[in-house]
Symmetry: D2
Subunit: 247 residues, 4 copies
């Protein structure tokens, strides 16, 4: 019997999430989670038309109930499926403000999604990743990837909430990696250090060549390469930046 | 006219908080914040009897309202006072659990106090620290110190919530340091890497010499030394560990 | 005209070096550098027999003259060739000794190879990597990879010389990455955190499953994946550890 | 019988070294090491005149013989003395050059002094620091401090040699700290992140207020504070930067 493994991408927008979904859809049925269905609907169609299989579920990753409901739907749709790869790509609202002008909501916005959301998602998905460990038809170790940012390792002025949340998610990723690697789950954290080339950023770095921005498809490529690593060579952290990035 | 500067210690218990309070009470009237008055009452008496000046205010640092109320009382008690030193020493409930057994409350407990609390406290205290910058009678640059832990830089298995919160607080500290140093406020983060010698830990490392544990009074000494640094030599991070610590 | 690009592996032994050589030999003629020809001779034969192309050159990477001679031979053998990938895998003698028992030679052994050698090798190979940037037949950005170790980020007792050298090589790698990325060369540093499964370590971790050691072939796989990254998503550092590693 | 402890400063110039020497001369007879006697002669006179005790010894810290000779002279001058504090402040020649224009000497210049020199100095001084551990008249744990720089944790382009050496010295410091803390020696590393205000830098940052540069006397103050830390609260690393530093 063939493996019934699926891939789940939490946080699908027009950038990394979509590229990752397309890439993993070539190997697995994919589940796309995003709060706003606009963010996955056309992509679900695109994948289904081009021979892949995708569903989208409107989900608020910062809500335990919403996530539980989403995973209930996943179980309905893919009865008994294990998860071969899960990518947490959601990110809290980006707030850049002087500390004294930041509201509690501003400050907590990052944490709610990037850290609490990442925790809640991990709790839902880890049992399904563990299930994949036992699937003898599974080609690669089940993989959980968190998308971080420059702010995961660098806390600049005016970025207190965003950086706090990203530092926190990095700690979460490492803690999970250490707990679940011995059980066969590969956990990795990616520090995306640079501007991703998406519609929203098309006017940024306008006078620079394309190599000043990160291509989302190339992030997806790196995520796939993480997924295919063997149990005898897990990478737990990578950084990714474009050729022309100053760092 | 003499300086009317005070010091505030948030998170006073029988360990670091009490030692820091005693140390800074030698130079400034001190305000002690703790949720449970049991944690500061005898200390307030002790300081007042021995020639210092102290008040305690029951405060939940994770609550904006509670903190606002506390700072209202401070203003009543010390009208027009600036803050020479503020130490954030509160720490969220320590939870050590497998990820799949952790409740959302378990996970968020660290964040609520260590990071959101640190943020809320900073918002209240920074205007008073800035006020101290302008106080020509002030001897040292106003100082804001955050107490971190091993988990601020190392995220171990089963420690996902605690480490996330401590990583987050470290990011917060750095972000504030970068924003407020140019305005004259000295912000520092201390990585307390080891067991502090307090009543609760008296049976830990029992067969080891005293140098296996950190003395809270010696942490206070280091915090005082941070406070006395000049504007031309700010230390933004120190680690502290006992002689016999393995690291 | 087809690309005349080659790959060079410095530091070929029975572990990572050999695996990397085999992997890259599937795409490029490879040059193997090692002090002792025993370390590459059978591998050169193996590659040449199995349809690849390989030469070995006895080289002391810590000697400017020896390296210059080696690159002279490379130019003779592959006239006008550019370098598509260069892997610096040489490592100084490993010395674990109390500081007071360490000779200057012991201490400097790591530096001579891991850092000075890496520097000298980089100086020879970077012009050839830059040449590859201009090669329109080249499929991937030219890549320079340095093999680091746990000691690249963790300096333990008794490891002063080895850790100093590895920290130094990591700094060298980053400095070169920042200087040459804008010119089109991809530089990466790999932190190999664990015991590599080679003949010399076959009795280590004997009672553990194979997942307690790193497979050299899987390191090679990761290096290849680094090489194939696009200019819009360079990874400058990865860690690699086996599933059962404690970290 | 009173303690016969001395302090030794390696790398005395018009900046940090001189300030540290003055500061520690208030408590201990000091020995000043520098290659060029011009760097310590007037300072030796100044200290001796103002009630302290100082000698200078022309020493090349990168030469085992020169260092051995220096410590022979120290033993002659202060028979049976232990060392209460040793500060390694020497730094290799600063070279900022494109990698391909750097000579082997340029590249190695940093290492020779900052790392090999630090190693050689440590080997000479550690037995005397250990001797101080047993001195019951000694007030503070014997202390060995290494002066690092921004480049100790950040490797920029064109700084390959300097950063490599500083990263290496940081590893050395940590390794020694871990080995000798359990024996009672306090080892610390200081990341001096900014321009120090010395004659040579008087035209730098000219239009900025004094708080844009580090005061060498204030570094000395922080070093003294490190020295006075108890065995139950060792700091192994601090950073130091001026109020107006961007980081």
């Amino acid at each position: 019997m063939a493996s019934k493994a699926i891939a789940i991408v939490a946080g699908v927008g027009p950038g990394t999430g979509a590229s990752v979904a397309r890439k993993f859809a070539a190997a697995y049925p994919v589940v796309l989670l995003a709060r706003n269905p606009d963010n996955y609907e056309s992509l679900v169609q695109e994948i289904n038309k081009s021979g892949g299989k995708a569903i989208g579920i409107s989900t608020d990753v910062s809500s335990p109930d919403s996530l539980k409901e989403a995973f209930g739907k996943i179980e309905q749709e893919y009865k008994g499926a294990s998860v071969a790869a899960a990518i947490f790509n959601a990110s809290g609202r980006f707030v850049r403000k002087p500390l004294l002008e930041m509201s509690v909501e501003d400050f907590g916005a990052g944490w709610e999604v990037s850290c609490k959301g990442a925790f809640l998602f991990s709790q839902q998905v880890l049992p399904l990743l563990l299930k994949n460990v036992d699937d003898t038809n599974s080609k690669y170790p089940p993989t959980l990837i968190f998308t971080g940012a420059t702010a995961s390792i660098k806390a600049n002025a005016l970025m207190s909430g965003f950086a706090s949340a990203k530092f926190a998610m990095r700690a979460l990723s490492t803690s999970i990696a250490k707990e679940f690697a011995p059980k066969g789950v590969h956990v990795a954290h990616a520090i995306i250090d640079g501007v991703i080339d998406i519609p929203r950023t098309k006017d940024w770095l306008k006078d620079m060549p394309p190599e000043a921005k990160i291509a989302a498809d190339d992030i997806a490529e790196s995520y796939w390469n993480l997924h295919t690593q063997s149990r005898r060579a897990f990478t737990n952290e990578i950084d990714i930046r474009p050729m022309l990035e100053k760092w």
